[in-house]
């Protein structure tokens, strides 16, 4: 009797599981995996397209530079304009800059245990460091090789950081060109970055500053959208 009852119960469970495994689709089956796969695939295509466009921009700028150099050689009257143009390109971040400076490294805590909001690096931390460096006289700054320019925004969406609309991840490397001593002191000052240093001490956020004899800040490869601002005559 007992064994019959056991077999009955086990048989019922098997029946339920087999039914779950081979469940007949409802009329409106929503495949929960499909939106994710589709979006994921779209994202990959878009990332590839961004890379292609950036390469095209770089190539076109290079060709235009060559044409302008040729213009300079051919026309004396254009000399002043071309030089002015090149100087401005440097100022707005369209050319690479190599000089002495500092390298600031940030990363999420590597301490054992679950990561909390205090133990990870936020976009706001990067904005604060960039602000500190500009106040200390930095001439150019990059974060994970994304150049800081006039229209740069540093944002986070859930757990990813976007700089110049480009996704970057921890560890974060902030490079700055300028007086290494002054820049390093400004970042090392707990007055300037007190919350970050609190979290470094209490939650293990990684923050290091190194002076460097040579730092390379790459040229900006994105776009400047100027449609509404006109020169005031």
């Amino acid at each position: 009797m007992k064994s019959t009852l056991s077999l009955l119960i086990i048989g019922l469970i098997i029946g339920l599981l087999i039914t779950a495994q081979f469940k007949t689709p409802r009329q409106r089956i929503l495949n929960p995996v499909e939106p994710f796969s589709s979006l994921s695939s779209t994202r990959e295509d878009l990332i590839a397209k961004v890379t292609v466009l950036k390469d095209a921009l770089k190539s076109r700028r290079s060709e235009n530079d060559a044409l302008q150099t040729q213009l300079k050689q051919n026309k004396k009257s254009a000399e002043g304009l071309v030089e002015q143009f090149n100087e401005l390109k440097q100022k707005v971040g369209l050319t690479e800059l190599v000089s002495r400076g500092v390298v600031v490294s940030l990363a999420d805590s590597s301490l054992a245990g679950e990561l909390s909001i205090d133990s990870i690096v936020h976009a706001a931390d990067l904005r604060d460091i960039v602000n500190t460096l500009w106040n200390a006289g930095a001439q150019a700054i990059s974060i994970n090789d994304e150049r800081m320019v006039a229209n740069t925004s540093i944002d986070s969406i859930v757990n990813i950081v976007l700089v110049n609309n480009t996704r970057i991840t921890s560890p974060f490397v902030v490079k700055a060109v300028g007086d290494p001593k002054i820049l390093a002191e400004s970042v090392e000052s707990t007055n300037n970055l007190n919350d970050l240093y609190r979290r470094k001490k209490n939650f293990g956020v990684i923050l290091n500053v190194e002076k460097a004899k040579e730092v390379t800040i790459p040229a900006f490869t994105g776009s400047f959208d100027i449609n509404f601002a006109k020169v005031q005559l």
Binding site: L7, I10, I13, I14, L17, I18, Q21, P32, V33, P35, F36, L39, T42, L46, I47, V50, L57, R60, R61, N64, L67, Q68, L71, K75, A78, L81, V82, F85, K89, K91, V92, A124, R127, D128, N131, T132, W134, N135, M148, V149, A150, N151, T152, S153, I154, I157, V158, N159, L162, N165, T166, G222, S223, D225, I226, N227, F228, A229, V231, Q232
Partner: protein, 193 residues
């Protein structure tokens, strides 16, 4: 004895296998379909589309410049002059005018609020920003003195878009806690001093 209990053992093995398969399948599906993962992808995709749009516009500008550079010398000089003006707008070395918004703050802003406000304005597409007496450019750093009230922030860009983005629920003004906006058909922003 073993042979009599064999059916029970076999049934138990089958049950265990099916149970394990079911649990594993549910775990894999829930991992893939966590709401957050889909949301992150959707927002990232949206940002990528925006980025591509901007890059294509920039490419169009550079292609036009290239076209002009390869034609007559006179036209090339005109093209360079226009590009110089454009770069001066970006670098802040020239006074600019255009539609935009003004934000007035009755209370002072602290440094982090000014940083976050500027970041939000740049993200929305601000082309020129002015804090009281100061043109904000790439290398502008914020110190507390700049945020003293009364504070007026002028922004040139698409006025409806920037106005709505800044004042929407959950937007930067709500985060700061105060501030009033007015859309303007013409805002003049002086060059950097």
């Amino acid at each position: 004895m073993i042979s009599s209990r064999f059916p029970v053992i076999a049934i138990a093995l089958v049950t265990g296998f099916l149970l394990a398969t079911q649990i594993s399948a549910y775990r894999r599906i829930s991992l893939i379909t966590q709401g957050d993962n889909v949301k992150i992808l959707a927002v990232e995709t949206s940002e990528l589309i925006k980025n591509i749009d901007n890059l294509e516009k920039e490419k169009q500008i550079l292609d036009e410049q290239h076209q002009k550079l390869t034609t007559s010398n006179a036209q090339s000089q005109e093209s360079i002059a226009r590009d110089i003006d454009r770069l001066k707008i970006i670098s802040g070395e020239i006074e600019v005018a255009g539609e935009g918004i003004e934000i007035k703050f009755e209370k002072s802003l602290d440094v982090s609020e000014m940083i976050d406000l500027t970041n939000a304005l740049r993200n929305i597409g601000a082309e020129a920003i002015y804090f009281n007496e100061r043109r904000i450019i790439a290398s502008s750093g914020f110190l507390s003195q700049l945020g003293q009230s009364p504070l007026k922030v002028s922004v040139i860009g698409k006025k409806e878009l920037i106005g709505q983005a800044v004042s929407r629920r959950g937007g930067i003004l709500e985060q700061i806690g105060h501030g009033s906006i007015s859309e303007q058909s013409t805002i003049i922003i002086p060059m950097v001093k």
